[in-house]
Amino acid sequence: MVGNATEADDDVLLRVHDLVVEIPTRHGTLRPVDRVGFTVRRGEILGVVGESGAGKSITGAAIIGLLDRPAHISGGSVTLAGTRIDGLSERELQRVRGARIGTVFQDPSTSLDPLKTIGDQLAETALAHLPITRREARERALQALVDVGIPAAAERLDAWPHQFSGGMRQRVVIALALIAEPELIIADEPTTALDVSVQAQVLTLLRRLCTDRGVGVMLVTHDMGVVAETTDRVAVLYAGRVAEIGPTRQVLTDAAHPYTRGLMGSTPDTSPDRDIGDRLVQIPGAMPGLTAVPAGCAFHPRCPSAMSICAMREPPVTVLGDTAVRCWLHEDL
């Protein structure tokens, strides 16, 4: 997808271009990610939003080279600060992960080693990626805990993961992702397992780190409210394809794709300024499975505005100001 082809290149941290992920099976080849493209700039949070089966997590996994076999990248490119990182060997990728790209996953307990103290885990990660001494690594570990807002950080350096609450654990995971000073963070549903009050704290933290350090963040989520409050730009994924991408406010308030409009309408909201109305907007049906992606526009069987061409040909990318959309409604036919 185009998006930002014209902007200055040195501002772009991550460029994903026409990325295709395929899974060969006995019944044919599945395409969970189909020509996905977007960019993440320094100091920017890009939201990647979609329902289950949209391909958002697998896109993140493809970028950091953590696809489960037999899934593999079969087309397109991933460029980090001007250097291609798709097709690197596992050894080279290990150097990229942690050092240049930090990751935060949904469940903080799976990202931490239960048999090592928090301090040791942080220090080891720092040592693995930075040319520093053990002592410096320990100091850095302490600073990292302070940075993510862990109270009494010095005492908690020797604590074990199980002694932390869920929210504190996710802060530690963020500290772990940041300790080697990566340029990019990929956060996959980082607050989905957390209570709403803790979610707000963790997202505020992510936002602040992004502004203060100029880190780029790719935030994968299913929650349109989180997208609205946390991200600068958003890519809406449907059936492995980018339906629409653009500045968050514009996409959410004046959606160009019927799927984005449907998503917004079906999301219940607590905003005092929004009339909740009597009924939520219903999108009929559900996201298609990978074995049964409809021809043409994948959304057409559920689309209230579908035309005959939608079932036959996949819509091209239409650029409308800052947004880009794949929908026949925006093409002159």
Partner: protein, 358 residues
């Protein structure tokens, strides 16, 4: 409850027909179907006896639900909202009689499920059903849909022979599935369709009260919207009463008539929907509302307290919320505030009036 007896008599009369008879009761706003008083549940979470002796530990008691009181009016939706450890699911289990209270009671149309005789309990069971969170775990994978939905009909002898199949077909259509789906197995359906099967099964015994424990938390938003709309339609058409358990305030705003907010096992605020969302009286409710993401909250800064729900085994003294509360006084550390009326809310807070101002 004085009117309990005649309502029950009413019920048996049109038992085998349908539940439309209840619709007449809906207009009566004072008609309470579920009465919960002083409901308390403690769990013993101690280590094994020998370990306790060796380590010289005492018993550890978790008070999951602590003196909770509320009424659910007939034909309405009462929502219990809370974060993890609030005791919301424990309350749901006690209301349907899956768990006995340690103290206090639940009264459903005059009958206490915990103390009821066998026959009375069986009659009550038919009138209360439950919808669960995980549509993948709550349906028997080896049963066909016809058997899953048909079981309560046979159980309670609501129909026999061919009539069972007809009733199943009607129920499936009522929840937006087709008659032909009856011969399929649960794995042939998507998550949203499975939840529809769960709803059809719950409706099969023609209940009055459905306890819904996070019914849409496992579903995608577009599917959640379908299920929530369906549940509202069914409530309108069948005069159902819902006890709706959730952690999600936005869903509550769409579904509930009255909302109870739980914090560490205690009901801190209970209010009609509009009052709760426009003028929350408890500082915790206020914080929850602020923390919930909004679709129009572009770049919004949250006023979160930086705290988290503490360990329920060792909760703070006095008002459990006081360590996180922006308006807490010394009194809040010592005493648990009694419930009182402030504005449209019933609230357990000494400083509720100040909350309105800051």
């Amino acid at each position: 409850m004085s009117h309990a007896a005649d309502t029950t008599a009413d019920k048996t009369a049109d038992d085998t027909l349908s539940v439309t008879g209840q619709a007449s009761a809906r207009g009566d706003t004072d008609d309470v179907l579920v009465e919960v008083r002083g409901l308390t549940r403690r769990f013993d979470v101690s280590s094994a006896w020998l370990n306790r002796v060796v380590r010289r530990e005492g018993k550890r008691i978790l008070t999951a639900v602590d003196g909770v009181e509320f009424d659910v009016k007939r034909g309405e939706t009462y929502a219990l909202v809370g974060e993890s450890g609030s005791g919301k699911s424990t309350i749901a289990k006690m209301v349907v009689g899956l768990l006995e209270p340690s103290a206090g009671h639940v009264c459903i149309d005059g009958t206490d499920p915990a103390g009821a005789e066998r026959a009375a309990m069986r009659a009550l069971r038919r009138r209360i059903q439950m919808i669960f969170q995980d549509p993948y775990a709550s349906l028997n994978p080896r049963w066909r849909v016809a058997d899953i939905v048909g079981e309560p009909i046979r159980m309670f002898d609501l129909a026999r022979g061919e009539a069972v199949g007809k009733r199943v077909g009607a129920l499936l259509e009522q929840v937006g599935l087709s008659v032909g789906d009856a011969t399929k197995y649960p794995h042939e359906f998507s998550g949203g369709q499975r939840q529809r099967i769960g709803i059809a099964r719950a409706l099969a015994s023609e209940p009055e009260l459905i306890v819904c424990d996070e019914p849409t938390s496992a579903l995608d938003v577009s599917v959640q919207a379908q299920v929530l709309n369906l549940m509202r339609d069914l409530q309108r058409d069948l005069g159902l009463t819902y006890l709706f358990i959730t952690h999600d305030l936005s869903v509550v705003r769409y579904m509930a008539d009255t909302i109870g907010v739980l914090y560490l096992g205690r009901l801190v605020e209970s209010a009609p929907r509009e009052a709760l969302f426009t003028r929350p009286a408890h500082p915790y409710t206020r914080m929850l509302l602020d923390a919930a993401p909004r679709l129009d909250g572009f770049g919004r800064v949250h006023a979160t307290d930086g705290g988290e729900v503490p360990d329920p085994i060792d909760p703070p003294s006095g008002c459990h919320y006081h360590p996180r509360c922006p308006v807490a006084t010394q009194r809040c550390e010592r005493e648990y505030p009694p419930r009182r009326q402030v504005g449209g809310s019933e609230v357990a807070c000494f400083e509720a009036e100040r909350i309105r101002q800051y």
